[in-house]
Assembly symmetry: C2
Homo-oligomer: 200 residues x 2
């Protein structure tokens, strides 16, 4: 099984929260976005828009939003709910780690091309394709949604029209250090056969 | 590039709405679900539950919910919004096509393991992994959310506790006929650089 094998990519996808200074060429960003748009969407309306943020000032401003959302409430909420090691990793990401990525992709939903109720099922599959494609290319990435608490700030920062709703921000770059394997419960722990509670 | 190559799988994923009678062995269902749980989730809480529905009676009842949701409003809403060929395909799926799949996977979110606000970003990436894994194995699948209009009926049918919210139903089986390539706009049509409206 090669590294490019589908299941190999799936099994090594993991959030990256610290990036090296090495740049990511546009040809790789293009491959990642091309993979994103092959995801399904309600009625095939493909209601996504992507803003590829490379400008250092804009990335710093997005980085400020991460800090603000985390320190202003996210951390307090998460701290009792996650293991200390994960919390330390997230701390590092929020406090400059994410902003150190040379590219930040802001994923938006266009309200003129879908309904509110179908935004999630039409946007997060594309976002997952994007994350997997990054993994396939050796890039680090992470799915973050916390800055969307500041949707209006993001609209102003990136000149987004009112009908575009920022849904996620994905930092993209080369991992500063190798990422370990993701930690997951076996699927069978949460799988049932025919009716809830029957071992699958 | 082999058929198992990550990007090859991504580029051929497409909704399947008509299935052959050939069964899907559990070993393949397991591979698909194992891929699903490697997706990211908020705080890594992995708030998914899967019900693998094989029972013919239960599948028929889920099929009734598809028909009911489609004929009772979904079709009227979608008809003016989608091309006739797609509408005909969806008609076929809703009117028995989806129910002809030997396996239906009901994807649920557990409110005790996540917040309402993080359900979408924690469940649809896993669902997308599931769909891609099916594609990698040659199986047909589709992302459907319309039956979740009848969440209470689904809870009763599958014995789901109140804290489980059905989020999607994925029919899984062997495609009755070869699936053509997915139709998508080029990503560049909806991608901007640094600010909205700047060609990427």
């Amino acid at each position: 099984m090669s590294d490019d094998d589908f299941f190999s990519v799936v099994h090594r996808q993991r959030a990256c929260r610290e990036f090296s200074e090495r740049d990511v060429p546009d040809v790789l960003v293009a491959q990642v976005l091309d993979a994103a748009v092959f995801a399904p969407s309600a009625e095939n309306h493909q209601p996504w828009d992507f803003v590829v943020v490379r400008d250092a000032n804009l990335r710093a401003r997005l980085g400020d939003l991460f800090k603000q959302a985390w320190i202003g409430g996210g951390r307090e909420f998460s701290a009792p709910r996650v293991p200390p090691a994960l919390l330390a990793n997230v701390d590092a990401g929020m406090d400059g780690g994410f902003a150190s990525a040379p590219v930040m992709i802001v994923v938006c939903a266009d309200a003129e091309r879908t309904l509110n109720v179908t935004v999630p099922s039409s946007i997060f599959p594309a976002t997952q394709n994007l994350l997997l494609a990054a993994t396939a290319l050796g890039l680090g990435s992470a799915l973050t949604t916390i800055t969307t608490l500041f949707a209006d700030d993001m609209r102003q920062l990136l000149g987004l029209p009112e009908h575009l709703q920022p849904v996620a921000v994905v930092p993209l770059g080369w991992p500063a250090k190798p990422l370990g394997p993701p930690r997951r419960d076996p699927f069978a722990d949460h799988t049932h056969r025919d009716r809830y509670g029957t071992a699958w």
